[in-house]
């Protein structure tokens, strides 16, 4: 699972470098997210722009990544493809995560979760 993180003015940016978050990488995703986010209070933004497929296991892993955060950390999502976005809508997880249409909207001066 190819996940990278970088410190940004707004907080921590985590970029998914793979096109799928599915059953075959769900556990790796969750573990890697724990490594990258440990001890970084504040906003964590997950850039999904390179992801074109998320199944229920991948979705569960993204929820697990949220649940393993500390109370002073938040997880937001950005740049979902239409298909990934549909998975979040069908499971109503779009009500749980702040979702930004683009990375710019998430990190801009007037960034607001939509």
């Amino acid at each position: 699972m190819n996940l990278d993180s970088s410190e940004q003015p707004f907080g921590l940016l985590v970029t998914v470098g793979d096109s799928r978050i599915d059953a075959s990488v769900a556990i790796q995703f969750k573990d890697r997210m724990r490594e990258l986010t440990a001890g970084r209070p504040g906003r964590i933004l997950l850039d999904l722009s390179q992801v074109d497929f998320v199944d229920s296991s991948g979705l569960g892993a993204i929820v697990a990544a949220l649940k393993q955060l500390e109370a002073d950390q938040t997880l937001e999502l950005a740049a979902l493809s239409p298909t990934v976005s549909k998975v979040f809508r069908l499971t109503r997880m779009d009500k749980v995560f702040p979702i930004h249409e683009t990375l710019e909207q998430a990190t801009g001066p007037r960034a607001n979760a939509s």
């Binding site: 799928r20 549909k86 069908l90 109503r92």
Partner: protein, 157 residues
């Protein structure tokens, strides 16, 4: 993989039950389903629906996180019948308890972060995406047949 000599257009795959193999099979379908006349939105629906059903077979019928020499096989057959895609999945794993996919809704989401559900999405997606679903157990084989209506307007918002 495709046979279409006058007969209904059809795709068949057979592969060992494992998460990597499921991913490879889904990528094959994504590449080949256009031959059955599906558009991009229909292919996505089919891919997500089959991902959930195939993962369910890997995890519950075979309990195979890592396919080894003894891992069971999954057979997948997709064909187009008029305005529907009919997919039949066969495996020789454990039967579905209760004789079919359980009826289960989404867990409550108006809860604290720690109480959010990490599972249960798969069944919900299957129910949302499939137009028809039937299950039978015959001669030690699970047979799951799923129908997807085609030709509907592009995915609703």
């Amino acid at each position: 993989m495709a046979a279409s000599d006058g007969a209904e257009p059809q795709l068949r795959l057979s592969f060992p039950a494992g998460p990597e193999e499921v991913r490879a099979a889904l990528l094959c379908l994504r590449r080949d389903l256009p031959r059955l006349g599906l558009d991009a939105a229909e292919i996505f629906r089919a891919e997500l629906l089959l991902a959930e059903l195939l993962n369910n077979i890997v995890e519950h019928a075979y309990c195979a996180e890592r396919p080894g020499p003894g891992a069971g096989a999954i057979e997948l057959d997709c064909r187009r019948k008029g305005s529907a895609l009919i997919v039949t999945l066969r495996d020789r794993g454990r039967p579905m308890p209760g004789g079919g996919l359980p009826e289960k809704g989404l867990a409550a989401l108006d809860v604290g972060r720690q109480d959010l559900p990490e599972g249960g999405f798969g069944l919900h997606l299957v129910r949302e995406l499939a137009d028809e679903l039937s299950y039978a157990r015959r001669d030690g084989t699970n047979i799951l047949r799923v129908g997807l209506g085609l030709g509907r307007p592009p995915a609703e918002a």
